[in-house]
Symmetry: C2
Subunit: 206 residues, 2 copies
């Protein structure tokens, strides 16, 4: 029996649930409810119950959710019960900050390489990594079988870099460059741009 | 006549339209269409027309949108026809990268101060800024009248820092800490966490 595809908007909420539950777990908590999760996240309890029910039976009426059990299930659903190798493209301020970012490994990701095309940067150290030459990127990534990349190059170079990532076998790109990318079917792109977030808020200010 | 409030999901797409249009403008383009914008952004042409029509009459049937005119209008709607001062809280890797980030000023924002509580960081230079003591944050921000902040402190300190920002008069917080914040009515929070973006994509990988 082929399950119905889950809407991407629902998929997009699962990492927020997982993050909140893992934080509760770190605080020594064992059980929560859709009401409490909803208050943490600003999402209605009904929405949370509906989202989770699409993946299975995680809570019992009246007793709530077992946090550890739900964490394990969400990790499996999101496929972060394994660790994904991640390549960073661009060793500017954002790429370098990402290379030093601590919060990745316990959440399913491990930076393994960082690339730049600037000859003055290639060979330099950032965190625990030596910056590699972008010219060797397709070979290095495809040889290592890396499927996830963070793209932190200037906007003018982002599409070409994305094309190379796709050629190298990358299937998920988190794009920090402030432009939209064109990628073939089967490759996923997420965007993160501080300015679009800020502008979404200034709309409401006076 | 009181206009109907625009759904936040629509507001959230306006910065993407603005960014794409500004890029077209940089390329010397004068006119575009909802079809072309839609292809750039992966959003349907009908959705774009519907979104924009909520704010006015920007295009003519058959002749498309005048890019400069639409850019000016979107900048006014999003209130980035002015420049907002922005405070950064946390001078770790992410905060420091943001302090050095170039792409803000022509898009409506200007970093004016950065704070940290670490005595070894206070007084040090990051980009063009001297790192200020968080203990003076409420005073400094309220005195300067800063309304927008980027929060890049560890998760365990984020709620307290947010409380202080609110006390100082900040009304828009872009939160890089991987936790959800509780803020009073009238204060806006946007979240950005690379891991939640990555997890939303690994769901689809094998």
């Amino acid at each position: 029996m082929e399950p119905k595809p889950i809407p991407d908007i629902v998929v997009g909420r699962l990492p927020l649930y997982l993050r909140a539950l893992q934080r509760m777990s770190q605080q020594g908590r064992k059980v929560t409810s859709s009401q409490e999760l909803g208050e943490w996240l600003g999402i209605s309890a009904a929405q949370i119950r509906k989202d989770l029910s699409q993946f299975g039976e995680f809570g019992k009426q009246g007793t709530g959710y077992n946090i550890e059990f739900l964490v394990e299930n969400l990790r499996q659903i999101l496929k972060v019960d394994r660790v994904w190798d991640v390549a960073i493209v661009g060793a500017g301020d954002i790429g370098s900050a990402l290379a030093r970012y601590q919060g990745l490994s316990e959440r399913g990701f491990r930076i393994t390489m960082i690339f730049d095309s600037d000859p003055t940067k290639i060979g330099a150290q950032v965190g625990q990594f030596t910056i590699l030459d972008s010219a060797a990127m397709v070979d290095s990534i495809s040889h290592a079988g890396v499927q996830v990349a963070m793209l932190a190059v200037p906007a003018a170079q982002a599409q070409q870099a994305a094309d190379e990532l796709v050629k190298a076998g990358v299937r998920a790109i988190l794009n920090y460059a402030p432009i939209n990318l064109t990628v073939p079917e089967g490759v996923w792109v997420q965007y993160t741009d501080p300015v679009t977030h800020l502008q979404r808020m200034t709309y409401y200010l006076d």
